[in-house]
Every structure is written in structure tokens, then in C-alpha cells.
Symmetry: C2
Subunit: 305 residues, 2 copies
């Protein structure tokens, strides 16, 4: 039942039209774990420096996460500084300090090596490959990536994509990876590289899941408050994978419902800075919003003739 | 059961990344009528010059449209020249020749004055008001508009908005009209101006319907082929209003299903230039794609507890 995540654990300084925060807790593995741990046991692999706040470590442990794979080393934690304008779909990176992340290599504790589900968060595809080489027997492996790796390490990225079941990326990245304007054509080409499933994230416009047999459109959820879109994709992955870890990987309908859980969790994550909203999030909150997703998309009719 | 539409009947010269056409049939009333006439009797009010092709007149008449309100006057038909780049959501106007449209005032034949549903397509809000002044007893009035009128004739626009039941506009226009970044807040403000329903069109990302009691999200339909987005909004209105004319205006669920019919018809309209795809469109085509919309959005579960 365990979920393994490898990704960044970071400090972020972020400015959006709705506020500004400095050196708050962030990173793909942090967002993912905060979300997925509401559903399943999460084993985290990553690295932090001496400046990473103890109470955030304590929070993840209280959620039941296993942090034996989180290396704590001398030096400073990975720091990302970014800005969002009114187009909240686009992050503008102002500064990146790799710090202790610069020399990071994932080392999986023995107990992590037979996970049920692996999530390779958005990091160097060579590191993602090192993780795959250390695990065996996973029912599902999910990879997230970004334009930076498509540009700078495409060969490595294609290799690791060919070894996972599910690939998640945003719309522009899917088009960029295979050089196709049509999203449907891009999806077919990406699936032909090996994965069974492609998830295309469209930010505030929802997400689409492509498989061999067709696609599923998860709705856009109109949000009252968006303070900070950082971590939305990893929170989505947390809800998606967490639900599958809990309910079982096999069935196609479970994948669809997992898409809704991902969308629900992401819609909460962006309501506040850092992992603040995820800290307070409960399964009851998730269920209530899941029902709202059902309600705002229902139409049926035209009969079953 | 009749539907009244007032809008432009035009010739368009259009360039998209997928082709180029010159002086083809276009205009908001033309697209609307081509779509809505698959569901209901349409009475059209507009104006054309001597250069408007006879076979397009014949086509609309074959579809059962009443064209007694279509003035044919000496001179040239309204001509719009536009270009779309790869971002097909944005039309770039290269040239507009009002021609016979410059002096147009809608004159409703006696038989048009008690319509069941009125569609005020995207024209000068003062002309939209002239139409409302000539009709009585309509069950539903629907207004479309654009950023040009928000900027140049806001007072007139607000007046006519206060007199209709349904307002349709795109996302940026809804925000612009009331100066609110949050779409939810913008929707509430627009509804407070008078209408019962606001439809926000998001192009390839679907559409959302806002009412006092909540909202409904119509999915984005991933299209294999998009040749020309011109007329998508009016085709949407044609499917939406046509379905309501056929099935009845009263019920909220009918409004939701009408949103799907609108989305379905619009998804066909953009597959070819001008009204070419709408000419060939059948109710069987529409039903098949409606089922596809059901299929690509189905997830349910979480029980009815």
C-alpha cells in the first residue's frame, strides 16, 4: 500500500498578485506528501539543509510519512524564488539556488524498495532513472517533468518516460516534447513512447487523461480564491496517487475518480501560500468538494438508446 | 416555438495556420441560424448587399429559416478580414468594411414580433435595444457581445443587459465588463445587473454557466481538427437556444443540456471554414457527439450517502 516519492524539498520565496512570502516550505515532494498522506503511507526520498524548519518535518511525520529517506546534510536547503502575474498559469523564476540539492543522489532505504506506487516528481530525469533502478515490483510508476528537462535532457527524459506507466505534464510541455500542435496527436505520440496513460494538466482549465482507448476530461473548478498556484501539480499528483493507493490501481474508473481527487486536492492547495491549506485539509473537505465536482458537471439525458 | 435572431450576415476573409479563404459566408446571424435551424424555426433579421451569394440564402431557406427580415439593399455586404495564429482563441482583425451594415436598423416583420426566444447576436447594443423594443412576450432573451462594445458603448450595453435573461461573453470580456479579476466575483456582479444566467465561453477550454444558485461546467472537447474558430460562439448559441426552443425553457437541467448541445455544435463548426461543417451537420451527428461528451466526463462514485 506504500507510495514512494522522490522530489525536491525546498524553501520558496513567492510573489503573486495576492501576497508575498519568503522562505516558506515548498518543493514537489513536500506538496505531494502533504496531499498523498491523507490517503496512504508515503515514503519520501529527498534532501534538506540545516535551515529546513523542524515543524514542517514534524508535520509530515504526524501525517504518517516515513522520512528515513530524507537526507539532512550540512548546508542550505534548495531555494526557489518566483513570481506569478495575473496569468496564474505561468510561473516566472527569479532565482534558483540548488544548494544541497546540487549533489543530491537518491538513496532508497531498504524498506522503500518494493513500493506499490512510485512518484517521480519533477527532477533531473537521470535522478528519476536512478530511482527506478532501485525499486522493483511497483504496480504503477508516475512521472512528472517540466519544459527545462525537455530542453536540456531530452534523451534521458525519453528513456525514463519509456519505463513508467503514467506521465504528467502541462499542455505546452506535451506539445513541446513531440513537436505537435494538436494535443490529441501529441498525446498519441507520447503514449507510443511507452506509457499507458498521459495526464495533461491545464491549470485553472482542469486536466485531461489520455489512454489508448480514449480520454477523460476533468472539469475546471471555478475558484473563489487563488493565492498561490505553486505546488498545484504536485498536489494533484498527491490526490491522484493517494486515491489509487487506497482504492486500487487496476480499474479504469478508479483512474477517472483519481483524476477528480487530484483536481480537488489541487483546488485546495492553491487557496493559500505554501502547504498551509494542505496542512488543514481533511478527507471530509475532499469529499464535500468531490460532490461539488459531481454537481457542477452533471447533465446526462439523451437516454441510453 | 420560433426563435428570432438579429445579427450580422457577412462575407469573411480568414487566414488560420490551417488555410486561407476569401469572401466566404459568415456573420453571427448566419452561423447562429445554420446551427439553430437544426432544432427549431428561425426568423432572421439582418442586412446583405447585392454581392451576397444566392446559394447561401437558398441553404438557410432549405433549413426552414424565415428570411423576410433579411433586408437586401444596394451595395456591398459587411466584410470582415481576420487572422488567427496558433492561439486559436484570439482573432486578429485585419480589416472591417461595414458597407450596407453601416446604416442598418432592425425592422421586424409583424410575424416576428412575438418570438418564443430572442437572440441578440453581437452587434451595437443600441440596435439590440431597438430589437427588444419591437418584441413582446418572449420567454427567453439571450445577448451576446464583445470587448469592442464594452469599451465604446458601455452605458448602452449595461442598459440592454439589464433587460435580457441570459448574457453570453468570453472570459476576458466578463472580467473587463465589471473590472474584476476573479471570474466568480465577475459573474456575481454581472448577474446583479439583471440577467438570470451568465454563460462564459472559454474557447477550447469549454464554457461555464453561472446562475444565482451555482454554476455548471461544460467540458472542453479535445478536437482532432480545428480549421477555423470563426463563428464558434454563435454556433454555440445556435445549439444552446435551438435545444431550448425544442425542449422548453423552464427547467434548469434543460439549460445544462442546452450548454452541451451548444458545445457540441460549436465543436463541429470549427472543423471547417465558414459554415461548411454546419451545412453538412445532422441531428445524428449531434447525438453521437453528445454521447461522447457524456462518456469523456463520466466519473461518479463516492456514493449518494
Amino acid at each position: 500500500m506504500s507510495v514512494l516519492v522522490v522530489g525536491s524539498v525546498a524553501l520558496d520565496s513567492i510573489e503573486t498578485p495576492f501576497g508575498k512570502v519568503e522562505r516558506v516550505v515548498g518543493g514537489s515532494a513536500t506538496y505531494f506528501t502533504s496531499a498523498a498522506s491523507l490517503y496512504a503511507k508515503v515514503n519520501l526520498v529527498g534532501v534538506v539543509g540545516e535551515d529546513f524548519p523542524r515543524d514542517s518535518i514534524a508535520f509530515l511525520q504526524e501525517r504518517g510519512a516515513d522520512l528515513r529517506g530524507l537526507q539532512m546534510v550540512p548546508g542550505r536547503t534548495f531555494h526557489w524564488q518566483g513570481r506569478y502575474d495575473f496569468d496564474l498559469n505561468t510561473a516566472h523564476t527569479l532565482d534558483t539556488q540548488l544548494n544541497v540539492f546540487a549533489t543530491f543522489h537518491p538513496e532508497l532505504p531498504q524498506e522503500y524498495r518494493k513500493p506499490r506506487i512510485v512518484f517521480l516528481a519533477n527532477i533531473d530525469p537521470d535522478l528519476q532513472m536512478e530511482v527506478l533502478d532501485q525499486v522493483e515490483g511497483a504496480q504503477l510508476s508516475v512521472l512528472d517533468t517540466m519544459n527545462f528537462w525537455i530542453t536540456s535532457k531530452k534523451d534521458s527524459l525519453l528513456k525514463v518516460i519509456s519505463r513508467v506507466n503514467v506521465v504528467a505534464m502541462n499542455e505546452a510541455e506535451a506539445r513541446q516534447l513531440v513537436g505537435s500542435y494538436s494535443l490529441l496527436r501529441a498525446a498519441r505520440e507520447i503514449l507510443s513512447l511507452g506509457p499507458d496513460v498521459l495526464i495533461v494538466k491545464k491549470g485553472e482549465y482542469g486536466a485531461v487523461m489520455f489512454t489508448e482507448s480514449g480520454y477523460f476530461v476533468a472539469p475546471a473548478y471555478p475558484l473563489e480564491t487563488v493565492k498561490d498556484p505553486t505546488g498545484a501539480g504536485d498536489s494533484f499528483a498527491g490526490g491522484f496517487i493517494g486515491y489509487l493507493a487506497e482504492q486500487g490501481v487496476g480499474e479504469h474508473l478508479n483512474m477517472r475518480r483519481a483524476m477528480i481527487h487530484g483536481s480537488v486536492v489541487a483546488s485546495f492547495a492553491v487557496e493559500d501560500f505554501s502547504i498551509e491549506r494542505l496542512r488543514r485539509l481533511t478527507r471530509a473537505d475532499i469529499q464535500a468538494r468531490y460532490r461539488e465536482f459531481q454537481n457542477i458537471t452533471y447533465f446526462e439525458a439523451l437516454g441510453s438508446d
